[in-house]
Symmetry: C2
Subunit: 155 residues, 2 copies
């Protein structure tokens, strides 16, 4: 990790501290470490992956703490769940508006950032159902890596 990344993550953790205080939540080392793991990863990790990573620095951390903390971070809008049809929840700390390409073979999640002129508009009749909080687009398919593997098998 380079210096600008280190700076960026420090900023994020300071923001986490602020948000915790604002909501009357304590700033615990577990919370910081768990948030760091999600924020530093670009692979949209599941709870198990976060748990394993945190264990390296905090061997006594419990599974329950990881799940509980991921839920708190979600409440703070610091992270959110990636919609998927898999048994495990996946988490994302990137707050920039974006969407996901999910590979149906290997379950990898790729970020899709729209061009400026492609901004998603709320479908005309969506608001008649209620108050819209969040729009989420998933694109499911087979990723290039898996397509290549399929080709290699055929030959």
């Amino acid at each position: 990790m380079n210096d600008s990344n280190k700076e960026a993550i420090e900023d994020k953790i300071n923001y986490l501290r602020t948000m915790c205080k604002l909501k009357g939540m304590r700033v615990t080392p577990q919370r910081i470490e768990i948030y760091k793991q999600v924020a530093n990863s670009c692979e949209h990790p599941d709870a198990e992956t976060v748990y394993e990573a945190v264990k390296h620095k905090m061997p006594n951390v419990s599974v329950d703490t990881v799940y509980r903390t991921l839920a708190s971070l979600e409440d703070l809008d610091m992270i959110f769940r990636v919609d998927n049809q898999l048994p495990r929840a996946r988490f994302d700390a990137d707050k920039r508006p974006h969407n996901h390409f999910i590979c149906i073979k290997c379950n990898e999640v790729y970020d899709i950032f729209f061009d400026k002129d492609e901004e998603i508009k709320i479908p005309g009749n969506a608001e008649k159902f209620g108050e819209v909080k969040d729009i989420n687009i998933q694109i499911r398919g087979i990723c290039n890596k898996c397509l290549q593997e399929q080709k290699n098998k055929q030959n």
Copy 2:
């Protein structure tokens, strides 16, 4: 249910028969009944709901059969899962392209049909990740019913 609906559902079941034969799958009464339940419902039922409904007609049906059959119907593209962040999978037999408004309070799923001039286009850079199979849009929010209940509580 009126006559045209009865006709429509018969057509769908005939299509199910055809698809089963095509794929070398047997046409069992359980498959027909389970499919009927999903196809006749507009509430995007979960497996438990389907199980309870089917039990009225087939008291001996097992939970396992329901799950296995829902998975087979998915393989046949007769039904599909609604993306959600809830512990239970929800199913939909409506093959017309549409999307969903999911209430974060009561978990109800509402169908959203786009106007013709609002057709969803694949984001420009999505295809660079691989072969796109399916695009899915969820809109999460609070439905009118729950908004009304909130208002009533406040007064």
